[in-house]
């Protein structure tokens, strides 16, 4: 029950965070308190990179932040696509500006927007970096603080420290909005 609360909380915070963090996607780097946390060498990578925003739930992370940079996983076809047509990305995750962190370890996960599937990316190293593969087109990156090293198939137990949504998460229904304001949402299954 506790973890479900965290899941819902994370989703709400993630979506609300995007209202203020979306502009960061157009920058070529990420500055937080003058600390360069991640710079995208290739100009296009910043477009798809994911800002990891602190929940301020963990001591020492109130001013921290991070990036998850999406690249195509290596493939003989250039673009890397799964059998069902999803993009296969390599996520390079890096956090920065973490102060006096002593207890537990940060662990990276990805989960679908509906939170029905979760995948372990891995524990962050001492440089607060980790890399892993994700084969979903729309997903949330979640960094939690765990007391032990989780295994594949597990869901997180600790509190959420950072979260961010893939750029594709900016797509949402237009029913009832903008030029389609007069379109009744219920007609399209939105209530």
């Amino acid at each position: 029950m506790k973890s479900k609360h965290f899941l819902i909380f994370s989703l709400i915070l993630t979506i609300s965070a995007f209202g203020v963090s979306a502009s960061a996607f157009v920058s070529t780097g990420f500055d937080l308190n003058n600390e360069k946390i991640f710079t995208c060498k290739e100009p296009g990578l910043s477009y798809y990179s994911i800002d990891l925003v602190t929940t301020k739930n963990i001591p020492g992370t109130g001013q921290a932040g991070g990036k998850a940079v999406m690249k195509f996983d290596s493939s003989p076809f250039g673009i890397s696509i799964t059998k069902d047509g999803s993009y296969r990305h390599l996520l390079d995750i890096k956090l920065g500006n973490i102060k006096n962190h002593k207890k537990g370890r940060f662990v990276a996960w990805v989960t679908t927007p509906s939170l029905d599937q979760t995948k372990l990316i891995g524990s962050l190293d001492q440089e607060y970096t980790v890399s892993g593969e994700v084969s979903w087109n729309k997903y949330i990156v979640v960094i939690t603080l765990e007391v032990s090293t989780p295994e594949d198939g597990q869901i997180w137990q600790g509190p959420i420290a950072f979260r961010g949504m893939s750029r594709s998460g900016l797509m949402h229904t237009m029913a009832g909005h903008g030029p389609f304001e007069q379109e009744p949402c219920a007609k399209y299954g939105y209530y």
Binding site: I79, D84, S168
Partner: protein
């Protein structure tokens, strides 16, 4: 992208036996396809009725003259097209190739379309590596045309580029091509004039170049060419093309009916444990396919201009426009298996991805076991030393500085106000590759007179055909291409380099783990792709996006290789 979010229209992806031909109220631009008439009329493309129409577009038509083939002719009088035939050739042989108007039957209706030698696809030309053959070409279609021999490193005079290597072949006129088959593999031929019409109407065919080395490939029971295509139609027939400039210029013209070897119901029969070598070519105007042989094991063998360095097992084959892949496929159990295009389509109105499969064809696997069992060879993954040794000669150039850069972008003017406004506030998400037409109405309304697709050389500020790079034969050139995601309408582009071969070294700094020589490579949105081009073939050549509508909207440049 907000343009797409605003996009009224759901993707038009349907299996060949469930095609939706609907139109919104007030959009019954239902001029019948009167083939006896000598004038075509616009009909808006079919769309999903669930989606509302973007306000302001209800009465818009593309600012172009509509074109349908064979208008004024009685379709029933046209010669009936026949399936592709194979022409086996030896060094020095000569063949005749004629482009003409033919009668094709698609989903039970007859249409005037184009074909080479009255066939769909054009004849399969098969010749040995190192051979030279002569093709006496004659033009009997309604436009001037040429034939481009895609992927061949042949004599520049025969590359088929109007205004660069030859004058277009006028209606009723002829041109003699001399083809040199330097590389073994799978290649294809198509017009290089108004490709978005002529190729879409059926002017395409394959060439297989058989290797000198008998052990070039693993042994197989069968070989088959698969030409993937799509075509846009509604209940009344083919949706007209723009005669003087293309419609669908933003995304290219997606079809809603899938074709394999020109058929909507492609069937293939094998025995259990047969190994089949498929030569796959994507000849669609714009669609990238994610091809899956359901129920089979697939081994990746080769691509455009060579085998891969290493064979590897794969689950699916993403193939961009004009690319080719060679795969070996094993069916171990009897049954009926679909070949599918399996994608995550986008519904921008709902703001979601959704899984979608088109059935491209069907493979029937009999109970009878294979006559000659090659499964052991199939399960052995080859290290292709010949390719590895060839590539090794170029490794000293892998880390060389970039010689030339290109940025992929576009400019627009004069699009309908509703499109401009919706695009202007578009700051959302663009996918790496457009797998479906997420905006059929807006796409249809965008023409080559309003959209200019651009290859920009940031070093000089020059664009498209104002660029003319000069090289010397033997140069090894690194070209860095950046597909800008923040333009008016970003889109993945299949980038084709004429007359030479190239390696895709890396995408966004991630090295390519298994190199293969290419002539066409996908440049995804937001990516930076490093190509290493061997300038081995002298002459005046082109590089361009192979989406027919983008090419006609300017996305090409020239380069020269001096002897």
């Amino acid at each position: 992208m907000f343009k797409r979010v605003l996009f009224t229209l759901f993707p038009i992806l349907f299996s060949f036996n469930s095609i939706a031909f609907s139109q919104h109220e007030h959009h019954e631009m239902g001029h019948s396809m009167d083939t006896a008439s000598d004038k075509a009329a616009w009909r808006m493309p079919p769309m999903d009725m669930e989606m509302p129409m973007l306000p302001g577009l209800h009465s818009e038509l593309p600012p172009a003259e509509p074109f349908l083939a064979g208008l004024g002719l009685n379709v029933s009088d046209l010669p009936e097209a026949v399936p592709q035939e194979t022409i086996n050739l030896a060094d020095g042989d000569t063949i005749s190739l004629q482009a003409s108007i033919i009668r094709r039957t698609i989903l039970g209706q007859d249409y005037a379309m184009y074909g080479y030698n009255g066939q769909y696809p054009g004849p399969l030309i098969r010749a040995p590596e190192g051979a030279t053959i002569v093709v006496e070409f004659n033009n009997k279609i309604e436009f001037p045309t040429t034939v481009h021999w895609h992927g061949l490193r042949l004599d520049n005079r025969f590359d088929g580029i109007p205004g660069i290597t030859q004058d277009a072949v006028e209606i009723g006129e002829s041109f003699t091509y001399e083809l040199f088959f330097r590389d073994a593999g799978i290649f294809w031929y198509h017009p290089h004039v108004l490709e978005y019409i002529q190729q879409d109407l059926g002017l395409y065919g394959n060439m297989i170049v058989d290797p000198k080395n008998k052990d070039h490939y693993s042994p197989v029971n069968r070989e088959e060419t698969l030409i993937l295509d799509d075509i846009l139609m509604d209940e009344q027939g083919l949706i007209p093309w723009g005669a003087d400039n293309p419609t669908h210029t933003l995304m290219g013209r997606f079809g809603n009916v899938m074709l394999v070897n020109g058929k909507t119901d492609y069937q293939f029969e094998v025995n259990r444990n047969d190994v089949t070598r498929f030569y796959i070519t994507n000849v669609a105007n714009t669609r990238t396919f994610n091809t899956v042989f359901e129920g089979a094991k697939i081994k990746l063998v080769g691509s455009d201009v060579s085998k891969f360095e290493r064979e590897q097992f794969i689950e699916n084959i993403p193939i961009g426009v004009a690319e080719r892949y060679i795969v070996e496929v094993l069916y171990e159990e009897p049954g009926v298996y679909p070949i599918t295009n399996s994608i995550q389509a986008i519904n921008h109105f709902r703001g979601e991805f959704y899984p979608h499969k088109d059935t491209l064809g069907t493979v029937h696997v009999s109970d009878t076991n294979t006559e000659e069992n090659y499964t052991e060879a199939f399960h052995s993954l080859r290290q292709n030393r010949d390719v590895q040794d060839d590539v090794a000669d170029f490794e000293p150039y892998f880390d060389k500085p970039v010689d030339h850069s290109l940025e992929l972008t576009l400019s627009v003017s004069g699009l309908p106000l509703a499109i401009m406004q919706s695009m202007a506030i578009d700051t959302f998400y663009v996918p790496h590759v457009e797998w479906n037409d997420t905006m059929p109405m807006m796409n249809w309304l965008s023409t080559g007179s309003q959209v200019e697709w651009i290859l920009l050389d940031p070093a000089t500020g020059k664009k498209n055909m104002d660029i003319n790079w000069n090289f010397k034969q033997g140069d090894v050139v690194k070209i860095r291409i950046f597909n800008d995601p923040k333009t008016f309408h970003p889109m993945g582009h299949p980038f084709h380099i004429h007359g030479q071969r190239h390696l895709v070294l890396s995408i966004d700094g991630v090295p390519n783990p298994n190199l293969v020589w290419k002539d066409t490579s996908i440049i995804p949105v937001g990516s930076t792709v490093d190509l290493l081009v061997e300038m081995s073939n002298p002459g005046d050549w082109m590089m361009h996006c192979h989406i027919g509508e983008h090419l006609d909207a300017g996305m090409m440049l020239g380069f020269s290789v001096e002897e």
